[in-house]
Point group: C2
Chain length 377, copies 2
């Protein structure tokens, strides 16, 4: 399937080395050897006023303390000199960095990028800048990175990578930094969480399968340490029992990670268990993709032989056959709402914040579900 023109590869690699070694060497001459940045003082001297006056002139909140002419003159000179405020110095003095930390498990996962965008849609207009860090779902890395954020004095943190049970929030609380979790939640109700309606999503899927005649369901569960894995599994158990389906324990396979390989492994586990089932409800899309792949490789067709459902509705999913029937979540809105709550917390310590905000989900019907075969294989 994958084909590499290796000689050409080598050739171009040599070219690469060549470009590194002999490439046009430029010193990237600094325009100013010694950083030549303009400070308030420079502007003040030029204008002939005190730097405090310049500061006041440049800050919208204080400029009306000054006479309009002075403000105008200062602003003029400042822009002419190319003055830029030093946000560091300002932050040190004001004790606000106008920075929020965003903690992700993995920036390359298409699920999380829109959360960032959603958050920034709120934060940027307010003058906040975000610092994004990747935990790789490793709690040691997580601790380290949260330390980094705290040292840099972030005004708040949006955490899209928390584990359910966690002692990792102590340092954040000590610093008194507002915190919101996004997409996932923790077992602490004192930490506001913005999540999707995992329960409702699973309910929709199970009902959808049930209506089409499926009675024997299996589940590939996500990591128990993540609320998404945990809640969806619980919902699966609850909803199936609610409509009177019997789910034996070995109809549930537990993935260690939310990825394709684990999806494949779990699907195979279900197959070899000898269990009889007509559909697999997967805790997310990537598990589902892996499962479908494993089924195919075992000579089982989806949806003809077994139906499969996902969760999240990743981009491009509609282009991948058979077209995964899944739950669409509102990643952007999760980010947006998280940021809204966070800004309220940052600006008003007394603000009343919902401990959990649940965003609605919708079912997306594609080709990975059909009626079950009358006699299962």
């Amino acid at each position: 399937m994958k084909f590499i023109l290796s000689s050409i590869f080598l050739q171009s690699f040599a070219k690469f080395l060549y470009s590194i070694i002999l490439g046009v060497i430029t010193g990237w001459k600094m325009v100013n050897k010694k950083r030549n940045v303009i400070t308030l003082k420079d502007v003040a001297i030029k204008v002939g006023v005190d730097k405090s006056t310049v500061s006041r002139a440049l800050n919208p909140g204080t400029q009306d303390l000054l006479s309009p002419e002075v403000v105008a003159r200062i602003r003029d000179v400042a822009t002419r000199m190319g003055y830029r405020k030093n946000q560091l110095a300002r932050s040190l003095r004001t004790q606000r960095t106008m920075t929020v930390g965003i903690v992700l498990p993995d920036i390359t996962n298409t699920l999380f990028a829109p959360i960032v965008r959603g958050a920034e849609s709120i934060l940027e207009p307010l003058g906040y800048t975000s610092m994004i860090v990747n935990t790789d779902d490793d709690s040691e890395r997580r601790n380290y990175l949260i330390g980094v954020l705290l040292e840099r004095g972030v005004d708040g943190i949006i955490d899209a990578a928390p584990q359910i049970s966690t002692t990792q929030f102590k340092s954040i609380e000590e610093h008194g930094v507002p915190l919101v979790t996004a997409i996932r939640k923790t077992d602490r109700t004192s930490i506001p969480a913005v999540i999707n309606d995992d329960e409702e999503g699973i309910r929709l899927l199970i009902r959808y399968l049930h209506v089409r005649g499926h009675r024997k369901l299996a589940h590939i569960a996500g990591p128990e340490t993540l609320s998404t894995g945990h809640l969806r599994l619980n919902a699966f158990r609850q909803q199936t029992s609610l409509i009177g389906l019997d789910i034996p324990e070995n109809a549930i396979a537990y993935a260690m990670r939310f990825d394709e390989d684990e999806g494949s492994r779990c699907a195979l586990d279900l197959l070899v268990s000898g269990l009889d089932f007509t559909a697999i409800v997967c805790a997310n899309d990537r598990l589902a993709l892996g499962a479908i792949k494993a089924l195919h490789q075992s000579g089982i067709q989806c949806p003809e032989d077994i139906s499969v459902t996902g969760f999240n509705d990743l981009p491009f999913l509609n282009l991948i056959p058979p077209g995964l029937t899944t739950i669409r979540i509102q990643q952007f809105d999760v980010g947006r709402l998280s940021a809204e709550l966070l800004t309220r917390m940052m600006t008003n310590q007394e603000a009343a914040i919902p401990s959990t905000s649940i965003l609605p989900v919708e079912l997306v019907e594609r080709g990975s579900v059909s009626k079950p075969r009358t006699n299962s294989f």
Copy 2:
């Protein structure tokens, strides 16, 4: 295709509102009303030394100025008190923020996330933190965001969103901040660029098509303002003429953006132009996906009727039929190398840096290319 259980949607939306309005209200009580952070001074008083001594004890570079016992005692007390350095104050004094700015056109585009990861693989171990901003390929936003980065005193910038011809680097130069462009380059040789071998990629594709009998090629070109669009178009022209193919002007369609919609639009343009062609070389994968979709909708099959190629090898592409034949680039390595060059520039002003570093590419063969029909339709 897309099916929404709307009543259930409404129901869950109501639930959402409910959770917002009536959700368990928690004040997210701050543990410390007034931020209660420990400073050097606090530690110094506790230990009974000067704060400068504490500073020296805590900094690896200066701790050997002190007697080992004092260092040990200070470190002990500091950790016991939960001291965390204030990176802001430190940066203000040292004139280094240990922060680099990463400028992306769009964080949600899967092409760019790995660049960030690659860069961080170098930067993080060195103690740098990155600030990621999205320009949306809008040069006004770009200017604004670069201003933000400069105000925050980044030590260097990796720019993965430059346009070819640009006057936008003046402010960066004025501040004397090192800059590297990644994945794209500019027309200034004084700005080091790390790019993929666009030319070689197009050469590989054209050769590949030519060997399989294609003689009538069309091209969907990317935006001329981006080096990737520009270089690939040039390479297309050059390579086709090199092997003696005649390419009429209307065999080239110009996309305004690198997205699916523009791919579709351009493909339709090519179709209605009445031109005779057997394959479309697209400037990137997203254009190719759009093109294939448009062909299908026009009743033309890929690859049976027309072959299509892409560029970049986005993730999951292998799962999308017919399987796009494309060029694999090394996004992670682009990020990594950019960061390596940047750190050299940040630490050693005199370092010799290649003005352009070109990373090798490889052809990935999938199903979107076949032999041309003997009589084109």
